[in-house]
């Protein structure tokens, strides 16, 4: 059994493209849920909008990637407005219902046969949609460190991805410690109290929904550019729930929560999977087949997360005193 391989894979994935995508989605949820108290259960819809904007505009319409990115961001704002205008005046649960439904509507729409010419149906869109980005790659060789192995392409995506995360984390930090952040946190605690002090809560909630959605969309764009392929069944509601898991794991309403959460989540998931794989290959585990690993690693990681929620409910970074106030 090759333990260093298991470890290497886990570290590579924990810092890799997928972790970056989920980290961006969770950063969006942090703004929406962690700070403003908005229950967006359709974050994957924002990611899908980003990914499909790239796929459709670059591959189906043959336009430039640099045109596709701003169009994707505009589409994301439009989606947030469509979701927010009818629901943000209502109780929090309505946004939750509408967003989860919308995320499925979008997935089913892009995989429909009727729109196959544009969205590619169940096969999605495949092609060199991120080429314009990869052409800028300054790296000349793959990276092959003891615990870190990336192709030249992945290395470039990872570099830009973590840089974006650093910039957005700084922006989030500035936002949430400003008077603007105070208002949205107030809305999370009690919207009517904030309204009674002359703040237009509706506008703040809309701003948070748009900003959080944009972060999810950037995640989707990274997805399309890095994987050069978008498929409808990548954008199932699970993505949203993993993002929430990551957020809670790191600690909601903590600026660094999503980063820590994403790294730990993907490390654990890959580690458990690879570890079981090696155990089976070495003949140490005989009652499992390699095909069982997929579900079992989720069961084990799920148990671990339950343990975390029981023994450290505030997440890695949270403040336990703050959480205790909820019980009142």
């Amino acid at each position: 059994m090759d333990f260093s391989f298991v470890l290497g894979q886990s570290i590579t994935q924990a810092l890799g493209v997928t972790a970056i995508i989920y980290c961006l989605a969770a950063m969006g949820l942090n703004l929406q849920f962690g700070y403003t108290g908005l229950l967006n259960f359709g974050q994957v819809a924002f990611a899908a909008i980003g990914a499909y904007s790239i796929g459709v505009i670059v591959i189906s319409f043959g336009a430039s990637l640099w045109a596709a990115i701003p169009i994707g961001l505009v589409a994301s704002v439009a989606l947030a407005l469509v979701l927010g205008i009818p629901t943000l005046r209502l109780r929090a649960d309505y946004l939750a219902i509408v967003t989860i439904a919308t995320s499925e509507i979008i997935r089913l729409m892009v995989r429909s046969i009727a729109l196959r010419d544009t969205f590619g149906g169940a096969n999605g869109i495949n092609g060199k949609m991120g080429q314009a980005f990869h052409d800028l790659n300054p790296f000349h060789a793959d990276i092959d460190l003891p615990f870190l192995t990336w192709t030249r392409q992945d290395l470039w995506v990872v570099t830009v991805g973590w840089s974006l995360i650093a910039i957005f984390t700084l922006a989030t930090w500035l936002l949430v410690r400003s008077p603007w952040g105070r208002v949205v946190k107030g809305i999370r605690e009690d919207e009517n109290a904030v309204v009674s002090l002359g703040k237009n809560a509706y506008v703040y909630k809309m701003q948070a929904l748009i900003l959080g959605g944009l972060l999810g969309t950037v995640g989707g764009i990274v997805w399309a550019v890095a994987k050069q392929s978008v498929q409808p069944d990548n954008f199932v509601p699970d993505v949203t729930f993993f993002s929430y898991t990551i957020l809670l794991l790191g600690g909601a309403a903590r600026v660094f929560g999503p980063i820590v959460g994403a790294i730990i989540f993907w490390f654990l998931l890959v580690f458990v999977g690879e570890f079981l794989n090696q155990m089976i290959a070495a003949g140490w585990i005989t009652f499992l087949l390699p095909t069982d690993i997929g579900p079992i690693r989720f069961i084990l990681v799920g148990l671990g997360l339950m343990g975390l929620m029981i023994f450290r409910p505030q997440g890695m970074f949270g403040d336990k005193r703050e959480l205790a106030l909820d019980a009142r």
């Binding site: 400003s178 603007w180 105070r182 946190k185 107030g186 009674s196 002090l197 701003q207 106030l325 909820d326």
Partner: protein, 296 residues
């Protein structure tokens, strides 16, 4: 009780000549409401023909449970919409205005169930009350140099208020860790941060221990001395008697009596509304029947 200040005397002398009838017009009303009706199904929760609130006074809105006092508050502050009626604040018509606009115009309310923002620190609760903050705009918020100066001024003002309300020791604590009475104080102080012309307090004394009640009363009087108008809902007749310049009595959605506290509490209609028609005692200290009621 310390002596009432100048504003108290001014308010009381201005109100001295006002007839003691429901809907009486005041010499200098800050708030005027006419034919306000709010129905819940078949029930008219509020059906107010006419009411005025004198500027610079402490006016109490009293009435038995279910009289429609809080509903009336909600209507006036935009948190609920009436089926009929119009009202004006400082001469400006207020119908159908969103609650945040009502607050911006200088009519700020508190809530019966205190709304301290639990996971915000006490000082942040206070700062949230300040009006016209540049840093509350999304684009400006990420450039601290645009709002830092204003924030420092607001913080200074907040600290003065916290000291006055004896919450300065709790400045850095989460509001959720305060006691019930402290939360009432915080909510009132926070409302004052917005420098309201009319502050509407929904049962400021409910659930507050007697020692703190005295200091709350002093704070309310102080608000008047600083030139604001206070309209408050209360059950406890002794409190009302102690601090209000004028009392408006609601029962079953209607205004049934108005007048200075002494007069109102002797009014047989008011005693009927509170205690049923066979009761003969007065409603204040001598007749303790009421204070043993819902708040104690």
């Amino acid at each position: 009780m310390p002596a009432n200040g100048q504003r108290a005397l001014a308010a009381q002398s201005a109100l001295a000549t006002v007839p003691r009838v429901p809907g009486a017009s005041k010499p200098d009303p800050i708030l005027v409401a006419s034919s306000i009706v709010r129905r819940f199904g078949g029930l008219s929760a509020v059906d107010v023909a006419h009411v005025e609130v004198q500027r610079g006074s402490i006016t109490a809105l009293i009435g038995p449970n279910g009289a429609g006092k809080t509903t009336f508050f909600n209507l006036l502050t935009g948190f609920d919409a009436p089926d009929e009626g119009a009202w004006s604040f400082n001469g400006r018509s207020m119908g159908r205005l969103s609650p945040y606009r009502v607050a911006r115009l200088g009519m700020v309310r508190t809530f019966q169930l205190t709304k301290a923002l639990n996971r915000l620190r006490v000082i942040d609760n206070m700062l949230l009350g300040a009006k016209g903050q540049r840093g509350e705009r999304l684009w400006a918020s990420i450039f601290p140099f645009l709002w830092r100066g204003q924030e420092a001024k607001n913080t200074e003002r907040a600290d003065v208020l916290l000291k006055r309300f004896s919450l300065d020791a709790k400045r850095g604590d989460f509001a959720g860790s305060l006691s019930g009475g402290q939360r009432k104080l915080l909510e009132m102080a926070r409302a004052l941060m917005s420098e309201p012309e009319l502050i509407m307090l929904d049962e400021p004394m409910a659930g507050v221990n007697p020692a703190l009640t005295q200091s709350l009363l002093q704070h309310i009087k102080m608000i008047r001395e600083e030139g604001s108008t206070v309209l408050f809902v209360e059950h406890d007749m002794d409190m009302v008697h102690d601090i209000s310049d004028w009392v408006i009595v609601m029962a079953q959605g209607k205004i049934i009596a108005e007048g200075p506290p002494g007069d109102v509490m002797k009014n047989p209609e008011v005693i009927d509304a509170y205690l049923g028609s066979r009761h003969e005692k007065a409603l204040t200290e001598s007749g303790e029947s009421l204070t043993t009621g819902e708040n104690k």
